[in-house]
């Protein structure tokens, strides 16, 4: 395209400028100039792209263990709302650095901590102890007490955090908003090859 245009312009100018060599040198200089710009452009683009992609990090880079407080604040057999401050944050985050989660204490040492975000589209689910269900206000997803899907549009159960108890305090491995991309690693159950299905 550029080649073609160049020829046309040269021919037009040939009438006024008798020396075609001079003209073609100008065009060569322009081409070199354009190439120089392209090289500089790429050199500048690399840091720009790196800057733009800086929030993209592996999940582990964002996660760390956060304390939800003494395990005594979670009675056995009940599910309670808990709040923590996201471990990764900036000083101007305001209230948005807070995160809520549901803590279910199954037994003395056994905990399940569910993300507040519905597995469908991330709305905050609410716990109803009377009917032992989590319900989502957005599109009507419902989950059982153990977080498994009960009904509605979600494709899976509630997202859970890894938990551990350190010196009488409940800790969870948190740091980023749970979504299907970072928590929905589907567990493939192998097809049975005879024997007990519980062998795994």
């Amino acid at each position: 395209m550029i080649e073609e245009k160049a020829t046309v312009d040269r021919n037009e100018e040939a009438g006024t400028h008798p020396d075609p060599l001079t003209v073609s040198r100008r065009w060569l200089l322009l081409k070199i100039g354009a190439a120089f710009n392209a090289v500089v452009g790429v050199a500048v683009a690399v840091p720009v792209v790196k800057y733009l992609l800086s929030p993209v990090k592996p999940d582990e880079a964002y996660k760390s263990w956060v304390s939800l407080g003494s395990i005594e604040s979670f009675p056995v057999g009940e599910t309670r709302l808990s709040k923590f401050t996201n471990p990764v944050g900036r000083s101007w985050d305001g209230e948005t650095d807070g995160v809520a989660c549901w803590v279910r204490r199954i037994a003395e040492k056994e905990f399940q901590v569910f993300a507040i975000n519905c597995a469908h589209l991330g709305c905050p689910v609410r716990w109803f102890p009377q009917s032992q269900l989590f319900m989502c206000p957005c599109h009507g997803g419902a989950y059982y007490a153990d977080g498994s899907r009960a009904s509605g549009p979600p494709e899976r159960g509630l997202f859970t955090y890894d938990t551990k108890v350190v010196e009488g305090r409940l800790q969870i491995n948190a740091g980023q908003m749970p979504t299907l991309a970072n928590t929905a690693k589907l567990v493939q159950i192998q097809t049975a090859r005879g024997g007990s299905p519980c062998n795994g």
Binding site: V88, T96, P137, C138, T179
Partner: protein, 491 residues
């Protein structure tokens, strides 16, 4: 007045814009296009200008920081003189702009204006629509309240469904691992710099092409668009049956734009600004997030799709839709423009409009969502249902209320609409079916087997069995009575 003319001459001899502007103003347009049907494009442009002006005025006060945005909106609403009015103008302006752009697009489609040689004008128009919607979404985010926060959550959840790069897409969208300060900052940059800049450039190119190629003539049945003849036919039409654009056609644009601006101002003054709603504290979970009006249809569609279709729908349908709109002028670049000869176009437009209307309407009252406080905040089971009831039935009515059945099932017109209304349930289901449904769930109902004691189930089903009209007996299992007869001792 002499000095004014001299000033004009002085400026124009340097600026050199007088001639091209005069030429544009006086270019002939077909007489029939001086119509009230041709006013929506200019109105959309005027609304864009309104949005830019009101947007700049709001940016004088708004603080694009997650920690302070909500507060600054409240200052605008309540403490600054007429801050509320400017917020309302900007909010209502955006509503009107989306509406006018959509009407403009429908009119252009109906009049076949996308056909040769105006294909590129249409394609730019498609991108202008997408950018307008982009402005609507990012604008909703800048109104940094609960709905904005959870709307971002919905956006991130959708982004996370993209195969392979979903996780990175979420990080890019949020500017980090969670919805926080970085998220608002980047949405501010998009809403204030990136999209408006593109919108303005595209809109100017769009208008440029309309002026250069000429406004689409009024479609007449039988007047066929052909690549070989169209341009000369069009010029002949403007010569024979045309008038100068100014003032012949433009006075209607002027009237309509003024009326639209007046309508925005009246709506702003009467209905006031949008929100902000509750503060953007993610640990306050007593909220039912909802998108703004123009995304309600999507909100509704997402609740009706089967789970397995949702990700494909979210990721494929928008791409197909945009590709279809872009491809339209190439697929149908020639031929009839008149709607009298384009039944498929009419059917498509009507279908889309009706579906959009239905889904939007459903989105306004979300029948698919449980009513979170219907069991505790709504009216109790009406007296007439339990007036003459046995203690067991009354106990069942209490179970019905306290186990949140009512969040999904209405009774006497109050309660959720997620499940069927239960006023006549006994005529539809036998006792055994009711017990099974309660215990096992199914058909989108959770199983209550673990959450109810056997005596609670008995009481609940006993209560549900009474829910039938006086003159209509409850459903029974025919084989059951036969079985009962069979087991009776023979005389």
């Amino acid at each position: 007045m002499q000095w004014l003319k001299r000033l004009h001459n002085w400026i124009d001899s340097r600026l050199q814009l007088g001639e091209p502007i005069k030429e544009m103003a006086l270019h002939p347009v077909p007489n029939k296009t001086a119509s009230w049907w041709y006013v929506f494009g200019s109105a959309a442009f005027v609304l864009l200008m309104l949005q830019i002006v009101t947007g700049i005025l709001l940016a004088l006060v708004y603080v694009p920081s997650a920690g302070h945005a909500w507060e600054s909106l409240n200052v605008l609403n309540h403490q600054l003189t007429l801050g509320w009015f400017l917020r309302a103008m900007h909010g209502w302006g955006s509503n009107f702009m989306v509406a006018v752009v959509l009407i403009h697009m429908a009119q252009v489609f109906l009049f076949g204006a996308y056909k040769y040689p105006r294909e590129l004008t249409w394609i730019l128009g498609v991108f202008l629509l997408l950018m307008t919607l982009g402005m609507a979404f990012t604008g909703q985010v800048l109104r940094f309240d609960q709905d904005a926060y959870w709307g971002l959550g919905i956006g991130a959840s959708i982004a996370s469904r993209v195969p392979f790069i979903g996780g990175s897409a979420v990080h890019m969208m949020l500017g980090g691992p969670i919805i926080a300060g970085a998220t608002l900052s980047r949405f501010f940059a998009f809403h204030v710099f990136v999209i408006p800049g593109m919108l303005l450039v595209f809109a100017c190119l769009h208008v440029w092409m309309v002026l250069k190629l000429g406004i689409n003539e009024w479609p007449m049945p039988g007047r066929i668009v052909r690549h070989s003849t169209y341009v000369s036919e069009y010029h002949e039409l403007t010569k024979k049956d045309g008038r100068p654009f100014v003032p012949g056609a433009v006075w209607k644009d002027a009237f309509f734009s003024a009326a639209i601006l007046a309508a925005v101002a009246v709506c702003a003054a009467v209905f006031g600004p949008y929100g902000p709603g509750g503060q953007p504290d993610p640990t306050i979970i007593q909220t039912a997030p909802k998108p703004d009006f123009f995304f309600l249809w999507l909100y509704a569609v997402l609740s009706y799709l089967p789970p397995s279709l949702e990700t494909p729908f979210l990721l494929i349908v928008p791409v197909l839709g945009i590709a279809g709109l872009v491809a339209l002028p190439f697929y149908a670049g020639e031929g009839e423009k008149s709607w009298h000869r384009r039944p498929v176009a009419i059917i498509m437009l009507t279908t889309i409009a009706v579906s959009w209307g239905v889904f939007t309407h459903l989105g306004t009252f979300t029948p698919w969502s449980p009513k979170m406080n219907a069991w505790s905040g709504g009216p109790p089971v009406p007296n007439r249902y339990i007036h003459d009831a046995s203690p067991l039935v009354r106990q069942g009515a209490i179970v019905f209320q306290s186990k949140q059945c009512r969040n999904c099932h209405s009774i006497a017109g109050a309660g959720g609409q997620r499940g069927p209304a239960l006023d006549l349930v006994a005529t539809r289901m036998t006792e055994d079916q009711l017990i099974r449904q309660v215990l096992q769930g199914g058909g989108n109902m959770p199983a209550y087997g673990k959450n109810l004691t056997p005596s609670e189930v008995t009481a609940l089903v006993e209560f549900l069995e009474t829910l039938h009209p006086v003159n209509q007996p409850p459903a029974t299992d025919a084989s059951r009575s036969t079985a009962m007869v069979d087991t009776k001792p023979q005389p």
